[in-house]
Point group: C2
Chain length 563, copies 2
């Protein structure tokens, strides 16, 4: 858990102290373990090379670089995937490549090596035998550093007892063992530690055992190791699937995929949160979203467009849900008359996406849930729509009841809203706590964790948002929530250039800096609307994760621009 993650405020200070002590102790133990590892590794270095006197020396050793430099074209079929190692292959000789995830020597004549490939693992036994496996080869296996990449040739056997430490229920009797790429003997993160759930750590603690907890900064500093855990492999496969489901749905609905520039003149959509740079002597900035250009594409007659690409926000936000660079899923479309036409797309798109994730990413969702337990997302076949006013009303009633029942319960769960201060302003925006509370109320009343809140106050929306026809204090806009957190913002846009200019000016934007955008509406502009989604947020909230850094491959926040 990162220090930047929110702590449970209900935890007593006593518990916190013991947690601190536990952390300290764990760190100490970790240091000790590493020191021992280094010692073991340097002792092992002597065993790295093949014993020249060993007549069976050809069966093991490091693969020389020249062999990996495209010396001989390969029949990839030579290798069997770890995933494919099943009982039906009994007695067959197979060749596999993977990482040495765990190495356990048993005396001098035997060593177990667990090989991992793409999340699947198999136990391999290197046992000294005349004519095939020398004791030097066992020594070589025992000296392998964890996470090294190896080629193993051996015979598939079926063990008497089920194998606990590997996904595959066969064992490989190793005949040949070659190291393709050696990992350093002491890894900055132990994968076993990185893959451990909070539940396991707490359980062990209650049993008096101190297990290492890898904090988030360490994870991110050594991200290439961190992402090898089953949960992280799952997260990024789920992310890939979200993008794919998003595209597939929109392409089937006649949307065109576009790519708009990230380098733009002027100051994007205004505000302070923009990265500025010099573009061949001209002042420029990084697009805060494809907003202006996707609307211009609608003026360019593409009818319905979408884009998947990076968006840049130079905000000083240190929360669990903000990044300085994230992947935006953006949609813009002509409408005939009403912003509900856009909400209809949101509705069908997301229900299709959630269905697809639940159907096609079972294994990945399980892997995530194993380390970070979560309940499957509750969503309706037709997405619930509430107006902002209805939402405010629900919050007001709830606040009133809470106050009536018991004014003293401010410290207990369920009434935290009162002490963290939900402020309800009818024409302001909802703060994070109010959004979360509303999410709870909606779940209780309607049984869904996915819903649309629309008809927001105009004052809290961007200048290009179309006001409501009947009350200009409200707007034809919406936000969409998952588990009480916002993931989508959308709206009908102002398509009348004179009105757009007026709105921009009213919002304090220098109209000259966006003249190309405003001019786009002078050549005939269809009524239109659209929305933007944060990819990392969708994955985070679908999986009930607590920090957006977990769903960004190489996250960027105000303090982090590496690796």
């Amino acid at each position: 858990m990162s220090s930047s993650e929110s702590q449970d405020p209900a935890a007593s200070s006593e518990a916190q102290i013991s947690k601190k002590a536990a952390k300290k102790e764990a760190a100490k133990q970790e240091k000790l373990r590493r020191r021992q590892e280094i010692a073991a590794a340097s002792a092992a270095t002597a065993n790295l090379s093949v014993d020249e006197a060993d007549p069976l020396g050809g069966n093991y050793g490091d693969v020389p670089l020249v062999e990996l430099q495209s010396k001989t074209p390969v029949d990839v079929g030579e290798w069997t995937r770890v995933e494919a190692l099943v009982a039906a292959l009994e007695n067959r000789t197979v060749l596999i490549r993977g990482r040495a995830q765990a190495i356990r020597p048993v005396g001098k004549k035997m060593a177990f090596v667990v090989i991992r490939e793409n999340g699947f693992t198999v136990q391999c036994l290197v046992q000294a035998q005349p004519d095939t496996v020398s004791t030097q080869m066992v020594k070589f296996a025992a000296a392998l550093s964890r996470e090294s990449i190896v080629d193993v040739e051996g015979i598939v056997s079926i063990p008497a007892a089920p194998i606990k430490g590997a996904t595959q229920q066969v064992e490989i009797q190793v005949r040949k063992l070659y190291c393709v790429s050696r990992a350093v003997p002491t890894l900055p993160i132990n994968l076993e530690d990185a893959a451990r759930s909070e539940v396991e750590i707490e359980k062990a603690l209650q049993a008096g055992e101190q297990l290492v907890r890898v904090n988030q900064d360490t994870r991110l500093n050594f991200r290439v190791l961190d992402v090898r855990t089953p949960a992280n492999q799952g997260i990024f496969r789920i992310q890939s699937h979200v993008g794919s489901a998003f595209r597939q749905f929109l392409l089937s609905e006649n949307f065109v995929e576009i790519h708009t520039p990230k380098l733009i003149a002027g100051s994007s959509e205004g505000g302070a949160s923009v990265f500025r740079l010099d573009y061949k002597g001209q002042p420029a900035c990084l697009a805060q979203s494809p907003q202006l250009h996707k609307q211009m594409s609608i003026c360019g007659d593409f009818g319905r467009v979408f884009e998947i690409g990076p968006v840049f926000r130079a905000e000083d936000s240190y929360t669990h849900r903000h990044l300085c660079e994230f992947t935006g899923l953006d949609v813009e479309m002509e409408i005939k008359k009403h912003y509900f036409e856009v909400m209809d797309i949101v509705d069908r798109l997301f229900v299709a996406m959630f269905d697809s994730l639940n159907q096609n990413c079972k294994k990945d969702l399980e892997a995530v849930g194993c380390q970070y337990p979560f309940e499957p997302l509750k969503y309706l076949r037709q997405t619930l729509r509430l107006t902002y006013e209805e939402g405010i009303q629900m919050l007001k009633v709830c606040l009133k009841i809470c106050k009536l029942i018991n004014l003293q319960v401010v410290d207990k769960k369920g009434d935290r809203m009162m002490d963290v201060g939900i402020e309800i302003e009818p024409f302001g925006d909802l703060n994070t706590e109010a959004e979360r509370k509303l999410g709870q109320l909606v779940l209780e009343k309607y049984g869904t964790e996915f819903y649309i809140l629309h008809r927001y106050p105009l004052a809290v929306r961007p200048f290009y948002t179309m006001p409501c026809y009947d009350n200009p204090a409200y707007s034809n806009s919406f936000d969409v929530f998952i588990r009480g957190e916002e993931i989508i913002s959308g709206a009908q846009r102002v398509h009348v250039p004179e009105f757009l200019e007026q709105r921009a000016a009213a919002c304090g934007i220098d109209v000259k800096t966006i003249s190309a955008y405003i001019d786009s509406f002078r050549y005939g502009a269809p009524p239109h609307g659209g929305f933007g989604v944060g990819l990392e947020r969708v994955v985070m909230l679908f999986c009930g994760l607590n920090n957006i850094r977990k769903t960004s491959l190489f996250p960027r926040d105000p303090l982090r621009i590496a690796p």
Copy 2:
């Protein structure tokens, strides 16, 4: 044709003078036309509003904004798509929305309006009739500005003679006509002009008629108008399809889609062509490609990854094929032994993509070919592979023969290579002319315009390229060509950290700035390789276009950062 596009050097100076004169004349005529338009428009302004005395005034007019502000939810089915207007709908009343592409009044009692939607057009007749269409309504129709968006309600009829000026072979007898969004009366680009082919212009010129030629800068300045032409609509739908075919193939081959940061510390892959900026007080730059992070993802156990996203090059290139920002299609994958494993993916991926484009984008390819004629790409079922040495050999033989046959033919086409100076250095790179010539030779000998050239000299490849096992002057790398121009660069990478450090230093790169990248290989790194493709180049060369600005929606070059 843009001034930045290459002129045909074979053109005589006389022809150039007459071309210049023609251009001048065309510009004059264009000015005149615009002045007339402005006059017509201001005369027409008086007709914009509905005549209050007209008892049939309810059948036409401007749609008031309030009606477009989501006042009433809509049944989108009310509207019929222009594409769907066929003879079977005879005598039915339909409602359509589209742009008034052409308006032609005939006397005071009749006006033709051609409505365009998504590239399909239909002729509408507004004819004065008692009880339905007033002469004031005809006047209103005649005063519409081109490219305005209108709603037309009318009855489908089948005209006696085929309709030439529209794609649909029915006519709409207009009953109601409302303007949804008015275009300014004088457009900076006339769509008819923008859609014209060079062939048409030349033909007209020979018949003594001066037609307007819209130059590329004007097109790009008013891109939202320019992209409305059939050819441009086709280009960007083809582009969308390329991305979709790319993804679909890779996902089916177990690749994972990733998103790597564009904001990075240090100086990306080095060199001068990098955009620098301040990142919260730290020096940063925009990624010149996802190279480093996609390789790190391989170290992170994703096995096979791809990314589609912007790449940034601050190069001072003013050629027809360079941009400062373009869309990179990037692939990286583990290999067992040989870079041919990567080339196999390139081969199958692109053959599948070309097949898919030819099958699924017929209409779009035709639209492009109509304005910019081109021959369908010639490619083999299994992609040709030549070594760099074989390529050089072909060029050398050709040069020799040319010289032997006729030294005086330097001015004629086909031997231009000699005067523009193809320089062949066995361990240097091929220049653009040499690449083009080699493309011709390959086409003649092997009948393909798509091929792979591999085993490039190491000296001309990036530091992370794996040298050949048998000769370190060459490398396990390749380029891929379409119609004689490079679209892909790929290679096996160095996966040994010490060797990588050494290669970086040898290439003059400060190893400290890429330490996170190099460290990634210390925790066990599989042999791997990959490639990068420029999306805009693929579309440009598949369609035989002459400038990459044609295939970038809002292009960025050293002189252009708007719109």
